[in-house]
């Protein structure tokens, strides 16, 4: 009784905290937490427009047997493994190149690379859809001037991954460049000067001073790029629809396809759970790697 009274008094004392928490948290529970729990729950059901019956691990068994799922996992990992290091290194090189320029020139370059990012994946992909067109796309025309035979780009399973990576690179590097330029601005120039006076070569300065000091930025970039790769959706939706024959489908896109085009909610939910597990594993691994290294 005494304890209950104390709880009630405390709750009353906390009333203003709850006033600020409750509106946002209700929305958060309704639109973030409950849907997540429901995804897990429905993944154990044979669930479509007609039925909803308990199926145990049926969806997961079906999923692991499905060719589309294996292709999605493979492509999702492939995109992550290609795009994350490539975009990080390219952005770092661009950032270190434009950093020594004056403020004006620097912001012109930054703006140019970031503009596609602002305009958004849908419009950028729509333009590339036309550029990649096998018959009247400008890319095949330009290559034909150098004697290259026309390529199918998005319709050929051998070139489709490359084509999608190209679009994503042109679309997303801008924000990474901005991050690296800001990171470089935070490094005390005296450190580099001192190293140069001590006779360090530019390569030594870069690898021994610049790169280690940029590590927090790099960690941030690698983590967000990995997560972004796991969520690849609009580029796939616009450019390839996952094709040809699942050659470019991703987990995020396959979930959408199973749910909204095929109407198999249970299977899509099981795939959603797999995506959550993948994201959690990657986040925890990077987190552990980062904090582990800092302890040393």
């Amino acid at each position: 009784m005494q304890a209950l009274k104390k709880v009630v008094t405390n709750l009353y004392k906390q009333r203003w905290a709850w006033f600020f928490i409750i509106p946002g948290y209700i929305i958060f529970l309704l639109f973030n937490i409950i849907p997540t729990l429901r995804t897990v729950y429905t993944s154990f059901f044979d669930y479509n427009l007609a039925t909803m019956e308990f199926a145990g691990l049926g969806n997961y068994i079906k999923l692991f047997g499905s060719q589309a799922f294996r292709a999605s996992v493979r492509n999702t990992l492939l995109f992550a493994v290609i795009i994350t290091p490539l975009s990080t290194v390219v952005s770092l090189l661009i950032a270190t190149t434009i950093f020594p320029l004056g403020n004006k020139a620097q912001s012109v370059y930054r703006g140019a690379f970031f503009l596609p990012n602002v305009i958004g994946g849908v419009i950028i992909s729509a333009i590339w859809l036309w550029i990649f067109h096998p018959v009247y796309g400008v890319l095949n025309y330009v290559l034909s001037l150098f004697g290259v035979q026309p390529l199918l780009w998005l319709a050929d399973s051998k070139t489709v991954i490359f084509s999608v990576v190209l679009v994503i690179m042109s679309w997303t590097c801008g924000s990474l460049i901005i991050l690296y330029v800001a990171g470089l601005g935070n490094i005390d120039p005296c450190l580099m000067e001192a190293a140069k006076i001590d006779g360090a070569s530019p390569a030594q300065v870069f690898f021994r001073i610049t790169l280690p000091l940029l590590k927090p930025v790099t960690t941030f970039i690698v983590t967000t790029q990995l997560i972004n790769c796991f969520q690849l959706w609009e580029v796939i939706y616009l450019l390839t629809d996952g094709g040809p024959v699942n050659a470019s489908t991703t987990l995020a896109f396959d979930i959408y396809k199973k749910a909204f085009l095929l109407g198999d909610y249970g299977l899509a939910a099981a795939e959603g759970v797999m995506l959550i597990v993948l994201c959690a594993l990657v986040s925890l691994t990077t987190l552990r790697m980062v904090s582990g290294k800092e302890e040393k």
Partner: protein, 282 residues
């Protein structure tokens, strides 16, 4: 930051970077010129580097001929502006409570928000869609806005920003008899202005480009946003033709790209701050 010397190696690298910059911008040139080409010109080989018979036909088609592009723009603007405003308000309220208030379950509730930062939206697409449908919010602005206003990253950033603000400010205002609402409105909000402007432009950009959710929840032509419209124009044959008319899609693209481009150039420094505040101190 003063200028540093650019050596010969630097000049070569700068040239390469400039070429890359031009390559990144060339598709945008192709979009703008393409929007003034008639269908036959969009299919010409060799392509017209500059439209030889420029036409406004594509714009007329999407602005009233067949599609309500003006409506799409309005929808995009309304959705992203309201989402940004509501999101900033909610994120500041939550961030303030997590930074300065004591209450039961504070840490658990905060960690729960952090965990969802890593959650891919696609994994909850179906239950989210069903819930919005059940609430009768399909094809409505509310349906497009509400699921994105609790922005976990924004909550986290606001908590980080408000936490170091001096407690004495709040205490002395309390002693002077200021109400909690007044403290929030006249102390917390004004002091958070730098963080709010930086997060605001990013939230605006995110909600403007929140294509996946918008395409799922907005299903009637009148309720589409400009991005949904462009996607339809770029992926479908329209008006009895059996090939895609990229002229329409490019015109839609220009219409969608123009406002965000202008906003970006006007507010570039806030974009930079918003992008870097999570990763770079200072």
């Amino acid at each position: 930051m003063g200028k540093q010397k650019i050596g010969p190696g630097g000049a070569v690298r700068l040239t390469i970077v400039s070429v890359m910059g031009i390559l990144v911008l060339l598709p945008l040139y192709w979009m703008v010129t393409g929007s003034f080409k008639v269908m036959k010109a969009t299919m010409a080989v060799p392509p017209e580097i500059f439209p030889q018979n420029p036409t406004l036909e594509n714009y007329a088609f999407i602005f009233g001929g067949h599609f309500p592009a003006f409506r799409w723009l309005f929808n995009s603007a309304l959705i992203s502006l309201s989402a940004t405003f509501l999101s900033l308000l909610i994120c500041t309220m939550l961030g303030y409570a997590f930074a300065k208030k004591q209450f039961y379950g504070k840490n658990v509730l905060f960690v729960l928000v952090l965990v969802t930062m890593m959650l891919p939206r696609q994994s909850v697409l179906i239950p989210l869609f069903q819930m919005v449908k059940k609430l009768g919010l399909l094809n409505t602005f509310v349906g497009a806005i509400v699921p994105i206003i609790v922005w976990p990253y924004g909550v986290f950033m606001m908590r980080q920003f408000i936490a170091p603000l001096p407690n004495e400010l709040i205490e002395s205002a309390t002693i002077d008899g200021a109400s909690e609402l007044r403290i929030f409105r006249q102390i917390i909000l004004p002091l958070s202005a730098p963080a709010l402007s930086a997060l605001g432009v990013i939230m605006f950009m995110n909600s403007w480009n929140d294509f996946m959710w918008q395409s799922v929840v907005l299903r009637e032509v009148e309720s589409w946003t400009i991005n949904v419209g462009v996607a339809v124009l770029a992926k479908n044959t329209i008006g009895g033709s059996n090939t895609i008319n990229y002229g329409y899609a490019m015109a839609g693209g220009v219409v969608g790209a123009l406002p965000v481009t202008l906003i970006f150039f006007a507010l570039q420094k806030y974009f930079v701050k918003g992008l870097t505040m999570g990763a770079v101190k200072g």
